[in-house]
Assembly symmetry: C2
Homo-oligomer: 212 residues x 2
DNA sequence: TTTACATTCAAACAAACGTTTGATACGCTT
DNA sequence: AAGCGTATCAAACGTTTGTTTGAATGTAAA
């Protein structure tokens, strides 16, 4: 009756999810309208409620934490010095946040939801952000050493995440200030490298305070 | 006929502006409703359109760049080493972004608008953000020295602003992760000090690259 | 073919939105 | 007191929102 891969039903579901990810990442949950999502998916307005129950349900299914988790796993398996792994993490994270050719729109949706709580935020925090913080906390612990306090380490983590997210959150502003700027992969890599250098120096200063 | 300070008309205008600043800073421009603003201001729904023409007009008048400019001016007049002035700037900026007792809600409204363009964003960028970037750019130039490239210096500026704005943008998330956390003035000062230390070390690493 | 069920569709729904209207109340000058 | 312009108000306006409905369509088993 249904449920074979590639069946018409599943195609509509998939088109709706793709369109939803685009519109949600562009306009946020509040700014996105069911009608625009359906228009892009070439589906009827009722399709969202039929397949996902509600706009909330569509958001919940549109989210996908797999790329973020896969990135963390690959980072751990990459091995090497923790400083190098931090460098790698920042670059991969920035690519997910900024690279248009990167398919991981869910990460950009999550970035939008940070400031604007929706019914899905609790799930996002529980399943994506909390593990990310744990992963990054352990990585920074390796770099900063055991003597660094928990609060200082957490603030270093916030400093790094803040730098990364800034380029996503402030993108409309930065585009107005520097209209020529384009976020191609080369520019993203350069920014990531800056953040890594900047942050490693910061961590060192925090973890090994030198008397003046 | 009217326009004397303290007249009933001006009181309604003032109440509307106060309420608008609260609601806009809490829910953003899209999320805020004219009806809630009027309810808090104890005014009729039509009052917004009568006094400000539209919801857009209310936002435009609710914005106030004076505190941000005053802060920059005070910073310049304070004098002292540029490193110390950066420290001062970060603390004042964080207080405007986070301190509940601080009356400068416009700064928090602007922080929300960064990610979500509204008709007022162009004016915000032109009159508040661009001057802020110029001010901070000059301050960082003093710290980093003449040899540092323009792009590197701008990235350092983004690193600092990103760290500061993170605590505002990610507040809903951080509150869920650390429910006990409260942003009193002591905590804000501690965070500001961290960002300053972290960033000064970062700037030094960028501006005076040391061969390994 | 007939039956049963899942999916799609145009249309309508109720609620909330920003805004407008026309009447009423107020404050001032004459 | 009369007249005039401003401010306030309840009510309604026209849109847009997410959602629901009931009929039409497609698909696969009986």
């Amino acid at each position: 009756m249904m449920h074979e891969a590639g069946t018409a039903t599943e195609q509509t579901r998939a088109r709706l999810l793709d369109a939803a990810r685009e519109v949600f990442s562009q306009h946020g949950f509040q700014g996105a309208t069911v009608r625009e999502i359906c228009r892009r998916a070439e589906a009827n307005v009722a399709a969202v409620n039929y397949h996902f129950g509600s706009k909330d349900g569509l958001l919940a299914e549109a989210l996908n934490f797999a790329p973020l988790k896969a990135m963390q796993l690959a980072n751990i398996e990459a091995g090497g010095a923790p400083e190098m792994r931090l460098c790698l993490f920042i670059r991969d994270f920035m690519l997910m946040l900024l690279d248009e050719t990167n398919g991981s729109l869910p990460c950009r949706i999550m970035a939008r939801e940070l400031a604007d709580p929706t019914p899905a935020l609790d799930k996002i925090v529980r399943e994506a952000i909390a593990p990310l913080h744990e992963f990054l906390g352990e990585l920074l612990r390796e770099i900063a050493g055991e003597k660094t306090g928990e609060a200082e380490l957490r603030r270093c983590m916030h400093s790094i995440l803040g730098q990364c997210l800034y380029y996503r959150h402030s993108h409309p502003v930065l585009q107005r200030l520097h209209p020529r700027l384009r976020y191609d992969q080369k520019e993203i890599a350069a920014i990531a490298l800056h953040i890594a250098d900047f942050s490693l120096a910061g961590i060192n200063a925090i973890s090994k305070p030198t008397a003046k």
